[in-house]
């Protein structure tokens, strides 16, 4: 340990950070935690795991996700040993993200988008783990989900998982012709959109049991997580974003302005704030490239009557 690092540890301990076993080493900001912070932003963890509306502590859980099955509350993922994930190991996180299974063996509800995160690279999971270890622990219990029968029967999640989830490495598929000269950026875009960014969790419609319908990938969802419609973002002119240029998409991701000069509100405004505006310009370009090469879906999303 360098002198500076040692000084930092002392400082953190004096400042009243929790000093459990190994706390002195895990509190260090390292290259891994820096990369992990980026993965954390790109994966949009903050948005669901924080109850922003009610001024909840970061990552202490509680945001309500309203779905046709009931209301989910994302749990506390701070390193608090009692209420958060302070007793987890890196293997536990890996299993949660890749398999959708909690340390106690229960399967998660797919409201936790492990179906997307399953494709995360080893390096990204390791870095994310490093970062999650150094966030401020919050001793607040997670809120229970409020689900209608029979969805409140936890054993069903295992059956759902068996039916709809196929674990495995992420494969973006062959690079399409219109991205031939930019294959690397295209693959990065695919990873950002389909794995880390889990865009399809809102922008792809779901079937009766809540599995996303990838035949209509990113073709819009009339019943998004806030009950409202989520637009079609495939390059279909008219019903999708086929008349947006790649630069239009980049501008939207960077500052939330669409080609009409209109600004995102609601859930997407949060995504722009917490995720897409914080990505590197190269990553925004990669997302724009990937979206512009998706199979267009002709599907107009209409608002459901309130």
């Amino acid at each position: 340990m360098t002198l500076r690092a040692a000084a930092l540890v002392v400082l953190l301990l004096v400042a009243g950070f929790p000093s459990g076993p190994a706390a002195s080493t895990t509190l260090l900001v390292t290259e891994a935690t820096r990369r992990g912070a980026y993965v954390f932003q790109a994966a949009g963890c903050l948005g669901c795991h924080t109850d922003v509306k009610n001024k909840g502590s970061p990552l202490a859980g509680g945001r309500a996700l309203k779905t046709p099955f009931g209301t989910f509350h994302a749990p506390n993922i701070t390193p608090d040993r009692e209420f958060g994930i302070g007793t987890w190991t890196e293997e536990d996180l890996t299993r949660a993200l890749r398999q959708g299974v909690a340390p106690n063996g229960q399967s998660y509800y797919p409201a936790f988008p492990y179906t997307s995160f399953a494709g995360m690279t080893d390096a990204d999971i390791a870095d994310l783990w490093a970062y999650l270890r150094i966030v401020e622990p919050v001793a607040e219990p997670s809120r229970e989900h409020l689900l209608a029968f029979p969805f409140n029967l936890r054993t069903l999640t295992g059956i759902w998982r068996a039916l709809y989830f196929a674990p495995g490495e992420f494969d973006a598929g062959p690079t399409p012709e219109n991205a031939a000269g930019e294959a690397e950026s295209w693959r990065r875009g695919a990873y950002l959109v389909r794995v880390l960014g889990h865009c399809g969790e809102c922008h792809t419609p779901r079937g009766v049991l809540g599995a996303v319908d990838n035949g209509l990938m990113l073709g819009g969802n009339p019943a998004g997580p806030d009950g409202g419609p989520v637009p079609n973002i495939t390059p279909q002119p008219g019903s999708g974003i086929g008349d947006w240029s790649r630069e239009d998409i980049v501008t939207y991701l960077q500052m939330g302005m669409d080609p009409a000069g209109d600004f995102a509100g609601g859930a997407m405004a949060e995504v722009v704030e917490n995720t897409t505006s914080r990505l590197t310009p190269d990553d925004r370009q990669a997302i724009a490239l990937y979206l512009s090469t998706l199979p267009p879906v002709e599907r107009k999303i209409v608002r459901q009557p309130r």
Binding site: G228, P229, P231, G238, S239, T251, M255, G256, M257, P259, A260, G261, D262, F263, A264, G265, G266, A269, E273, K300, I301, V302, R303, R306
Partner: protein, 163 residues
């Protein structure tokens, strides 16, 4: 300084106002549908101004004088916004044309007025920055106009309409 600025940008400002049209609040005798149409026109105009300003920040197209004029118009329009939302013109009351004005607007109208006033303040700051002519300062002043100004109203009070 103010005078020099005025002489430098007066002509473009006059031209701009001719191009962008004159601001209009609701008139006596307007039906709910008329008001919805009018405010949708107004929002489109705000959008066009934001787009043009963003274009300047990103690519340097246009001039700082144009930006100042457009930001001034956004600030002036923001003052009119509350008058464009009289009770009875929400999405639960008017179906033709469709409107995305949520009933929440009239639950706490003071909050709505404050959100509109905030847009005006932020656009005023952008106008000042543009009058200074410093591109990075303009960019820095633009971001909150979109995020907090436009977004500050759209998040709580607007349901995005279908294309």
């Amino acid at each position: 300084m103010k005078i020099r600025f005025a002489s430098a940008v007066a002509a473009p400002v006059v031209a701009m106002i001719a191009v962008l049209g004159v601001l209009a609040g609701p008139a006596l005798g307007d039906s709910a549908a008329d008001i919805v149409k009018k405010r949708q026109e107004t929002m489109k105009q705000l959008g066009a101004n934001m787009k043009a300003i963003t274009e300047f920040v990103k690519t340097g197209q246009g001039s700082a004088g144009d930006v100042a004029a457009r930001a001034g118009q956004i600030a002036a329009t923001a003052k009119l916004i509350p008058s464009l939302f009289p009770a009875g013109t929400g999405m639960d009351m008017v179906t033709d044309p469709k409107t995305g004005a949520k009933p929440e607007i009239w639950v706490d109208f003071t909050k709505f007025e404050a959100a509109a006033a905030n847009l005006g303040d932020l656009a005023g700051k952008l106008q000042q920055a543009a009058a200074g002519g410093d591109a990075p300062a303009i960019g820095a002043a633009l971001a909150p106009v979109g995020k907090e100004g436009c977004g500050g109203c759209h998040t709580p009070f607007r349901q995005k309409l279908d294309n």
